[in-house]
Symmetry: C2
Subunit: 328 residues, 2 copies
């Protein structure tokens, strides 16, 4: 039996969505137990509201709440009784196998690194994201944990991302690409050129990936510093809303009625579904000594459930053991 | 009379498009003369093919051709008789007021900096781009000339961009935004935090701009290092083709016929028209001691004409004088 701790008060729609996702998860997978972490009363009321009467979703009291606006470092220090530090501490003590949350990403990152510590041989824990492309999701790493990097960090991001892509995303032979301003190996900053050199002999390194290639899935793992990754992640998130606006404006300027563009918006919505991060099942902090995943603040119950299942996969596939033996 | 030198053999469609754009420009604006720079025979044949018989498009012989694939630094050194070094040298000698080209950007940047030199007080010449947003075009600077920056460079990019946005793009009071991973001033790398501090008292500094805000036009001048800008520029260029593919895939997976999605693709194409860089009228190298603009390799005749007109505006509005007095 695998036990996943779920932050009951993380994200924009708590406790409803985390609780709903947890219930769906235990109903679909008979081999897991959920530990809901949050104010006990809040959790119990929501469980009963949602009509859950089983014993595979349990509650662990964490009276404080870290909000989306709390400054990460202070939040964890000032609210030791909040769901994030409480859940991660339980995990560090092996009382559960993973912790997942749709809460404050910065606080989660800080707390994961601090409470779980680093895996052996890991220079810097990192945060990745799944990135939508015309060929399906790809993994981008780092997307904000390490704004500045050394070549060796990038190499480790590549390798940790490779293990995650293979074990959790099911990519058999993940191709690794280095985000850069040109395809030629002499392009880029000194740090990137050095990283290119270090990655060159990797059997599945496909070289530099330019901005124009990202959306076409030219690699399975896109490696970059956290500044670049964060800009691209948030830019990608904004595409659906921006396009909708552009289409409405185009329709107006050509005097098309709102009705007449509805089919176009429908097809577009479907085409852009992968860009809907609220439906994405969370992404892991890689390199920490534990399994800690974070979901979008707007995570739907489905997203929470999928995040739980991704955590289960990380546990079952022993992702961290594989990372350690790969890096050392 | 303003004289603009035009690279007749730059871009993917030479000599047709540069020559066609030049002819259109003199026909629309009676106050300019064009100097076509390229192999004389090639230029004269194209002019006659396009039926131009006037004397306001003249030819200046430059027998060599720098291709899009030539390595920038070597190209200029090894082909001193190519249109780019010849045109820029004419400009440096004041035999024309500006040089525009849809050719090899790297070669143009290197040659512009080397042949024209820097404007007084400029730390680093920079290359900008116009970026499509839901509120129209914005200026992004730098997009590849300076992959690594110092805080002071970013401040100068902001100021040079501001002058260009006001004088050429017609934005009365350009708002300046600093691309960053968060809105709070303490976010980002040390270099960006320092730049934020230096820009803080600028009356039209609107603070940090996150990736998700770029497409919504939250500032008029987006300031960033050349690595970030280059990734975003090329990523933006790829959006229309990626979307078209995503829409086709969505249509297929829901068994919609090619015919039934045509209207959707039509509306989308119109909405994405601003992302068509082939129609954008070039962008300037800012900070060089001259007026040098570069256009997309795929520049249409319209794009070439608009690039010529942008150069004319830079000359008429004395953009460089204004930059010098602003920076010093």
């Amino acid at each position: 039996m695998i036990t996943i701790a779920v932050d009951a008060v993380g994200g924009d729609h708590y406790p409803q969505n985390p609780v709903a996702g947890a219930i769906q998860a235990v109903q679909e997978n008979p081999d897991i137990t959920i530990l809901l972490i949050g104010p006990e009363q809040v959790c119990r009321e929501e469980l009963s509201k949602q009509g859950y009467t089983g014993d595979r979703v349990q509650v662990f009291n964490a009276p404080d709440i870290i909000t989306m606006d709390d400054a990460p470092a202070q939040a964890v220090k000032n609210k030791p009784q909040a769901s994030i530090p409480v859940g991660l501490t339980l995990h560090a003590r092996k009382q559960c196998d993973a912790f997942v949350s749709a809460g404050n990403t910065g606080a989660l990152l800080a707390a994961s690194a601090f409470i779980l510590g680093r895996l052996q041989g890991v220079l810097r824990p990192t945060i990745s994201t799944v990135y939508p492309t015309t060929k399906g999701f790809r993994l981008m790493v780092d997307v904000g944990a390490n704004l500045e990097v050394k070549p060796e960090f990038l190499v480790q991001f590549a390798k940790m991302g490779e293990v995650y892509a293979r074990e959790v995303m099911g990519v058999e032979e993940p191709r690794i690409g280095l985000l850069n301003v040109g395809e030629e190996e002499e392009k880029g900053t000194e740090i990137i050129r050095k990283a290119h050199e270090l990655l060159k002999n990797h059997p599945r390194f496909v070289g530099n990936i330019e901005g124009r290639d990202i959306l076409f899935g030219k690699a399975d793992v896109y490696v970059c510093d956290g500044f670049t990754g964060n800009m691209l992640l948030k830019f990608g998130e904004s595409i659906p809303a921006a396009l909708q606006l552009l289409i409405q404006q185009a329709a107006q300027s050509s005097s098309l009625s709102a009705d007449s563009i509805k089919p176009a918006l429908g097809v577009l919505k479907q085409a852009l579904a992968p860009f809907d991060y609220q439906a994405v099942g969370g992404v892991p902090f890689l390199g920490v000594n534990g399994v800690s995943l974070v979901g979008h603040g707007g995570s739907t119950p489905l997203a929470i459930k999928n995040m739980i299942f991704n955590a289960v996969k990380m546990v079952e596939h022993q992702v961290n053991d594989k990372i350690v033996s790969y890096l050392n």
